[in-house]
Amino acid sequence: MSSRTQSLGSHDRGAAAGAHAGPRTRGLDRQPPLPRREFASASVACCLSPELLQRFRARVPTAVVAHHPDELLELAITQGVRLVVADPHLAEGRCVQSLIKLREACPTTLIVVYTSLRASVMSDVVELARHGVHDIVIYGTDDTSARFGELLERGAAAPLTSAVLRLLESNLGQMRPALADAIGEMFDSPRKLASVHQLAAAAGTTRRSLYRHLTAAGIESPRLLVVAARIVRAAQMLAHSRMSIRDIARSLGFSKPDIMTLQFVSLTGLRPRQLKDPDRLSALPHIIAGRLISVGDTTGSHVTALPQGIRALGQSRRRQL
């Protein structure tokens, strides 16, 4: 890391600002209070103008600050940063080139443009959008703690989410683009599209048509698809954060922790606590994709590369259902 790079956080770079969850046990009382959404593997790096940086620091105090786009690029590649927040207008447009390079080098790193609305910024924003940068936060508009918290969470979950979507790629390819985009958005933000109705609306269609389109593309059930998006996020949070099952369930909109556990088991054949095991976590995308794709569907043949034991578990749960 460059010498000019400084860490703003005292205990964990990966923590995001947000509501605080108290320590889980008395034994942990000595530790500083942790932000509600904290991910051990997630980290945030930013490269912003002083005005934006001040505001950003107030919301994400643990972000690592790079003072130059080249530093940001180096930092993001070498440190495995999950979320990069940058103002494309910095360094006379060189920031755009660094972000494009970063996008190519680390496709799963979530890049967020944080800028103010000026005509001069627009060409840079459009250029980044062409290279697959989808998220923009506007200064003084939607740069709230909740928004950054949601982005951080998404950045942390990106590897798991993209693994699931990659396994469903051939099915998504058979759908019209609006529907495939809506499914991608749902896995990115499971709170935003938390029901079949909302998924249908995001795809610009009705619930009945959604069932028809998904069946045609070899997806067994829209309901399972919606559940899967939330379960993937829950799995990520369980494996990489210190949040309790109760807090995760509440955060993801489950009415009770038991319901989340039940859906975990019915979809994956695993109990939430089993996801602490890295092997099981890495097999999760295969289990979920295998569960989502219809039995008669031949497009999801790549899912058969699943480890034998875990596949058997997933299949046995399916028969029980």
């Binding site: 947000g18 005509a119 923009i136 506007i138 683009p177 269609t205």
Partner: protein
């Protein structure tokens, strides 16, 4: 190839090409000059003079455009797809672009930024209300109030902000209604991208309520039709019909069916559009809804006008005018009556209708189109002095891109007709540059054609010598119906 491929095309082929480009889905890299898509087509197009060939090639080309990996490398012609806001997946891209293009700190700029903030907050709050502090909604509400209630958009934003600030769980249907009103305001200003973003958010917020969702589908269908995304628009209209049948709502079913009629019209399938409108009129009469019947008759009149059956068209417009109950519809119908008069050579009647419309129109869209039509009327009657004030007026108006292209083309034709070739050339060049910049395929081809034939331009175009199909309908999709369309079913 040593010269641009489309330069070798025959006139009907060029229009077929324009039609194809128009139909190509956004998101695909569209051809820059027709024949470059495929070496086979490159050879085939110049040869095809008869319509059957064109029709066959149309299918072929559309099929290829929808396939994977179509790439075109020519410099001229259509913008690559990713430059369109809808093709770029960045959230609220249309708003960002519009805000950036608007003079900073103007009322319009404030209205747009406030709307952007409102949408961002609706998005956040609909997801996790408890984690958004009330200061954001309070700030939005205060900012909107500080601008007063003169601007319709700002006042809707103030309503949304006040509703969000209450944090009531039951406020979402009211928020949706305000969002739909915002969408309709953008629709009236021809800001299709913004209307689409707002309507899709309204649709998501009201996903569980069919009674509101169909309205969001209607606005979204209009916006996607305006943007040339016909397949997506058809899905929205189908949703309107499905929800209407579930709710037993005549209006919802009507707007869905009406959307399909307009889609057929936009795709250039005029016989189908006519048949669908006829069926719709019969259905509205059975449902005893004269207001909806008037709307359907107006649509049928436009289709008939596009087919060159001007007398039949006029009859439909007059029937629609008698039964219509909305002042907005009156303006549109009157505009089309004026245009039909002009097509029939009754220039004085047409002028009177347009002037009356300008004095009384409730929508900027109607006013702009009436002004553009007046340019043609004055050019046809040789009144150059009357054209200049209209030109000065329209040049400073915020016309949508497609309308700006048409304005420049109309002005160019008017100058050419009046013998001012230098100014005509300048107008055509401006039209071509603008069409090229925003990716309006028809505009590029038409401007190219006009520039190529400029020495003879005084003999073509305008009302007196115009072909009957050159009909500019009012109230139909933004301005892209102005060119003659090749209808496959019409061909032998």
């Amino acid at each position: 190839m040593t010269e641009p491929a489309h330069a070798t095309l025959t006139r009907p082929s060029r229009f077929a090409a324009a039609e194809l480009c128009h139909q190509a889905p956004i998101g695909v890299v569209v051809l820059t000059s027709v024949a470059v898509v495929d070496p086979d087509l490159c050879h085939s197009f110049p040869k095809c003079d008869n319509s059957a060939h064109i029709s066959l090639l149309s299918e072929h080309l559309i099929f290829r455009l929808r396939g994977v990996g179509v790439h075109v490398g020519s410099r001229r012609g259509f913008s690559p797809a990713p430059t369109t806001p809808q093709a770029l997946r960045m959230h609220r891209m249309s708003f960002i672009r519009q805000i950036a293009e608007t003079p900073e700190n103007s009322l319009q700029w404030h209205a747009l930024t406030l709307t952007y903030r409102a949408l961002a907050l609706v998005d956040l709050l609909s997801m996790e209300a408890k984690h958004v502090d009330t200061s954001s909604t309070a700030a939005l509400r205060d900012d909107a109030r500080s601008l007063g209630d003169e601007d319709a958009i700002v006042s809707r934003v103030a309503i949304i902000a006040a509703l969000l600030h209450t944090r009531r769980n039951d406020c979402w249907s009211e928020v949706t209604i305000a969002l739909l009103e915002l969408g309709e305001l953008f629709q009236r200003s021809c800001l299709s991208g913004l209307a689409l973003e707002v309507s899709l958010l309204a649709l998501r917020v009201s996903a569980h309520d069919d009674a509101l969702a169909w309205r969001a589908h209607r606005v979204a269908g209009w916006a996607q039709r305006s943007l040339g995304q016909f397949d997506e628009a058809a899905i929205h209209y189908a949703a309107c019909i499905e929800m209407g049948q579930r709710l037993d709502s005549v209006e919802s079913v009507f707007w869905g069916r009406n959307g399909f009629c307009l889609l057929a019209q936009d795709r250039g399938n005029l016989p189908r559009s006519e048949a669908l409108f006829q069926r719709l009129i019969t259905w509205t009469r059975k449902s005893n809804r004269p207001d909806l019947e008037a709307h359907a008759r107006h649509g049928l009149g436009i289709t008939l006008g596009l087919r060159g059956r001007l007398s039949d068209s006029l009859q439909q417009f007059e029937a629609a005018l008698r039964t219509s109950t909305l002042s907005i519809d009156w303006g549109r119908i009157l505009g089309n009556i004026g245009y039909t008069y002009a097509q029939l050579g009754k220039l004085e009647w047409a002028r009177d209708v347009f002037l009356g419309l300008i004095a009384s129109a409730s929508e900027p869209y109607e006013t702009f189109i009436a002004h553009i039509n007046l340019i043609e009327v004055y050019a046809a009657s040789g009144q150059r002095d009357e054209i200049e004030p209209i030109r000065r007026y329209l040049e400073v108006q915020p016309l949508p891109a497609a309308m700006s292209v048409d304005f420049q083309m109309t002005l160019g034709r008017a100058y050419a007709k009046l013998g001012d070739v230098v100014r005509a050339r300048r107008c055509f060049e401006r039209a071509e540059a603008l069409a090229h910049r925003v990716g309006i395929g028809r505009g590029i081809i038409e401007a190219d054609d006009a520039l190529a034939n400029l020495p003879h331009a005084s003999r073509a175009g305008g009302f007196q010598n115009s072909e009957p199909k050159a009909f500019r309908p009012l109230g139909s999709r933004e301005y892209q119906n102005t060119l003659p369309r090749l209808s496959r079913r019409e061909q032998p």
